[in-house]
């Protein structure tokens, strides 16, 4: 897979430099939903990625789960 993430600190990097940290829960979600339920979105999803082989920061990435296209990184 050729997925690349543009890290705000390190620039455009291969996804293998990152660990996947799961989807970002909605702010309104209760603790039970946050811990136990996944929305399993088909489409745009906000998720956390940890740049372990770079700046070791957590990024919030907006990814389309159908195409693996990345729309925003913060």
């Amino acid at each position: 897979m050729g997925l690349r993430i543009v890290c705000p600190t390190c620039g455009s990097r291969q996804y293998t430099e990152f660990w996947f940290g799961g989807e970002v829960p909605d702010p309104g979600e209760e603790e039970f939903e946050r811990v136990w339920l996944r929305s399993n979105t088909a489409g745009l999803q906000r998720e956390r990625w940890f740049h372990y082989a770079g700046c070791r920061r957590w990024l919030t990435v907006e990814r389309d789960t159908r195409t693996n296209e990345i729309h925003a990184v913060a």
Partner: protein
């Protein structure tokens, strides 16, 4: 003289030779034996598409001789034959072929039951092509990334035109071709500054991204283009007929290339069968080179284009070919008459199949196809005889048989007969497979094209792994010392650690009676500081942290949000922050986890991972204090550094943070020190009389104290209550990670818990079933015979039965009972000594 070595025979090399052309020049005609039936096979396509010329070169199996440049000293061995490809004893398999129909391993050798066990090693020995070189260490290959606007696969006229057009538009272009480029075309590409040319570099596949791996001679190129142009051209159509796989049968492009590039002839007396304009060009090349053209089979429409004086059989067809180890005659039919013509080469140019595997595997990606690769596939007539698939030895009757057994689509036939699954990946056989199905089921889903997947060209595993730089083995600063002491090393996560130094019982007794050391530098070690450090650590851990004074330590579990234990370690309060330890191999995960929470809560903390910068040596045993005093450590008495606590010490002049803990159950000082001083400290400790112990001794020592190992004794859903460690969690704290989950499940009564089990005599094996009464009650997770207690000790999971947990169990024939406290020194007096 420049020469290569073919099975002990010197074969001269001339300029521009491939391995195939060098061998052909000295009369080699059989290049391999086929996959299933051990039929003789010779040069056929000469474009790297067919499986016939796969040979072993310098120990590397399955090298395509026709696209590999010959180098002096190459050691070439032909594959899949015994004793030699010329006289292969296994060619008897062709005579026995009725015993081995397609899919025979699904339906023969089933009874008696032992039949398959006897046959399997034999089948495995005989099956397959080439031998994987197990004794050779894999070469480490480099990878290089290219960031281009466009990647062009194929450097023929279509690919070069596309490259020039894109470069003109200002795009950065990477063009890759499996062979060398035509010199004139290459020059025009190099004159443009925007084009990178990769020669002798095969495009292997197109992945999401797009990411295009290109397998070059000296490295793997990982190209990240915005779009891809596939210009891989076409391959001449394979034609199945009886004997059509004999050495001496050629595709037109192969025969013409042999003449043009190497000045060699495919044979002396040639029969040509063609149906295309291009075929006539190949014919002209052969005639100009001086072959004796015996006959020419072409459609009537082309008959007038054949040079005069050649015998033409208009609208004729090839019926079959004769020969034992090579072609000796062909049978042609025309106008209702058959005739046999003696010849030693048959050249076929009956049509083109697009080489479109790359484009077809890239659906949904920005990929465009140009040139012959974009031809629409015209299906040939249905084959009734001969080999449809040369790679896997699947003949037309095999398809017939599989169809009659109910495998009635291209995909099902592919899976059952393995046609199209060989080295050519369907380049030659897929049109015939589809024609076969279409002839029976018509156009539609059943006769659809089979799925194309990477790799489209053969690739070494070491190429696929090129550029991987992960340190797969982590070592502590003391690694060399362990080896010098004869340690047997074992994996512990990513680390290598001493399992023992040869005598685990002696190492164990040294801890219980004397003074011993262990390298615990693999522990996760993280510093946390900053204005919000206390608030942060208090919220991370389930135990109380804020009340710790500098110099104090506390053992704690780490819980995830679901309230499950995923690690454990200690919290040390320093003057200016916290020093946290985690289990070996847990540091990376712990660091990411800490950073995640620090960010989520928006707290001002610094998190520094010191795992690789600091070493740690545990000095343990009744004489541990004496050892430290010998080495000049001041104030190591029980008042200055009581259990549990920590303070800074100088041991043998090395500055250490000493943690007074007790995983082994004896007086212990865990000395955390700068990694660079590790060897000095270790040597001094050994000189002062301490002996080293390894993991095996440690496992027994901690088990006698009933301490858990997270991962070995715990499960993914182990809560502190299930582990019988309720004291490790302070539910009266306002908040900590996992607290809401623990509150939620706190009301549910336990159905399982981890218990300490004392056995009457021997220790049951780990994993043994626990029986209570006559019912299964759980299983053993850790178990050892305790030398100091004289009976087996274990940890294990027990299930609740009716209303209570059993307190007596039997495991592996030994009875045991649940004990509430540590097996060894339950009061902890030795720890506190």
């Amino acid at each position: 003289m420049r020469s290569l070595d073919l099975e002990g025979r010197a074969v001269p090399i001339e300029a521009g030779d491939t391995i195939a052309s060098a061998l052909h020049r000295v009369g080699v005609r059989i290049f391999s034996r086929s996959f299933r039936h051990h039929r003789p096979r010779g040069l056929y396509c000469l474009t790297g598409d067919c499986p016939n010329c796969l040979v072993t070169v310098d120990g590397e199996p399955c090298v395509r001789a026709c696209v590999t440049a010959a180098r002096p000293g190459h050691r070439v061995v032909r594959e899949n034959a015994w004793p030699s490809v010329e006289r292969d004893a296994l060619s008897v398999l062709w005579q026995l072929r009725l015993l081995f129909p397609v899919g025979f391993y699904y339906k023969t050798l089933l009874r008696p039951r032992f039949a398959w066990r006897v046959a399997e090693p034999l089948v495995r020995r005989v099956a397959g092509i080439g031998t994987a070189p197990l004794e050779r260490p894999p070469a480490h290959r480099e990878a290089r990334h290219h960031h281009a606007d466009v990647l062009i696969a194929g450097g023929g006229s279509a690919g070069v035109a596309a490259a020039l057009a894109a470069a003109e538009e200002g795009e950065r272009v990477v063009l890759a071709d499996e062979g060398g480029l035509d010199e004139r075309l290459a020059a025009s590409l190099r004159s443009s500054g925007n084009i990178t040319v990769l020669e002798r570099a095969a495009v292997v596949g197109i992945y999401e991204g797009p990411l295009v791996p290109v397998d070059g001679e000296d490295m793997l190129h990982l190209v990240h283009p915005a779009r891809v142009v596939v210009a891989t051209g076409a391959v001449e159509q394979h034609l199945p007929f009886r004997g059509g796989d004999l050495p001496g049968v050629w595709l037109g492009r192969g025969a013409a290339r042999l003449v043009r590039e190497h000045g060699l002839l495919p044979g002396r007396r040639v029969v040509f069968a063609g149906a295309t304009e291009e075929g006539l060009e190949h014919l002209a090349v052969l005639v100009a080179a001086g072959v004796d053209l015996a006959a020419c089979v072409v459609p009537a429409s082309l008959a007038s284009s054949v040079s005069p004086g050649v015998r033409v059989l208009a609208d004729g067809e090839v019926v079959e070919a004769h020969g034992r180890s090579g072609l000796s005659a062909v049978v042609l039919a025309a106008g209702g008459r058959r005739e046999t013509i003696r010849c030693d080469a048959l050249v076929l140019s009956v049509g083109l199949s697009p080489r479109d595997g790359l484009a077809r595997q890239a659906q949904g990606l920005p990929v465009e196809t140009v040139g012959d690769a974009g031809l629409s596939q015209s299906l040939p007539p249905v084959a009734s005889r001969g080999f449809v698939c040369l790679c896997e030895d699947v003949a037309a009757p095999d398809l017939e048989q599989a169809w009659n057994e109910g495998f009635r689509s291209t995909e099902l036939l592919k899976r059952y007969t393995t046609a199209t699954m060989g080295p050519c990946q369907g380049a030659l056989c897929e049109p015939h497979l589809r024609a076969f199905v279409r002839g029976r089921a018509g156009e539609g889903a059943l006769s659809a094209r089979t799925t194309a997947r990477p790799p489209v060209r053969p690739i070494r595993l070491e190429d696929a792994a090129a550029g991987v730089h992960f340190a797969v083995e982590q070592r502590t600063a003391l690694h060399e010392r362990h080896l010098e002491l004869g340690a047997r090393m074992e994996w512990s996560g990513d680390w290598k650690r001493p399992e023992s130094y040869g005598d685990p019982p002696a190492e164990y007794w040294a801890v219980r009676r004397e003074a011993s050391v262990m390298d615990v530098g693999t522990l996760g070690k993280i510093l946390v500081a900053g204005p919000d450090a206390t608030a942060f650590v208090e919220r991370i851990y389930p135990c109380r942290v804020a009340d710790l004074e500098p110099g104090q330590v506390r053992y704690s579990l780490l819980l995830n949000e679901a309230g499950y234990v995923f690690d454990d370690g200690v919290v040390c309060r320093l003057d200016d922050g916290y020093y946290l330890t985690f289990t070996s191999g847990g540091a990376e995960q712990a660091e990411a986890w800490l950073r995640d929470w620090a960010e989520t809560w928006g707290l001002r903390v610094h998190i520094v991972n010191r795992t690789h910068g600091l070493g740690a040596i545990n000095v343990t045993g009744p004489r541990a204090r004496a050892v430290l005093e010998t080495l000049g450590a001041a104030a190591v008495d029980g008042d200055s550094i009581p259990f549990p606590s920590q303070r800074r010490l100088h041991v043998a002049g090395v500055p250490c943070l000493a943690l007074r803990l007790g995983f082994t159950g004896e007086l212990s000082f865990e000395l955390h020190h700068p990694r660079s001083e590790g060897m000095r400290l270790w040597d001094a400790l050994l000189d002062a009389g301490a002996t080293p112990h390894g993991l095996e001794a440690l496992r027994l020592l901690r088990l006698e104290k009933g301490h858990i190992l997270v991962g070995q004794d715990t499960d993914f859903d182990s809560t502190p209550a299930k582990l019988d460690l309720p004291w490790a969690v302070r539910m009266d704290k306002p908040d900590f990670v996992g607290k809401p989950a623990l509150e939620r499940i706190g009301g549910i009564s336990l159905t399982q818990r981890l218990v300490r089990l004392a056995f009457d005599s021997a220790a049951p094996p780990e994993g043994a079933l626990l029986i209570a009464g006559s019912r299964r009650a759980g299983y053993v997770t850790s178990s050892r015979f305790s030398p100091v207690l004289g009976h087996g000790v274990a940890l294990g999971w027990l299930r609740r039965q009716d209303d209570s947990f059993p307190d007596a169990v039997v495991a592996d024939g030994t009875s045991g009972r649940v004990v509430a406290e540590a097996f060894y020194d339950p009061t902890g007096s030795r720890l506190r000594a």
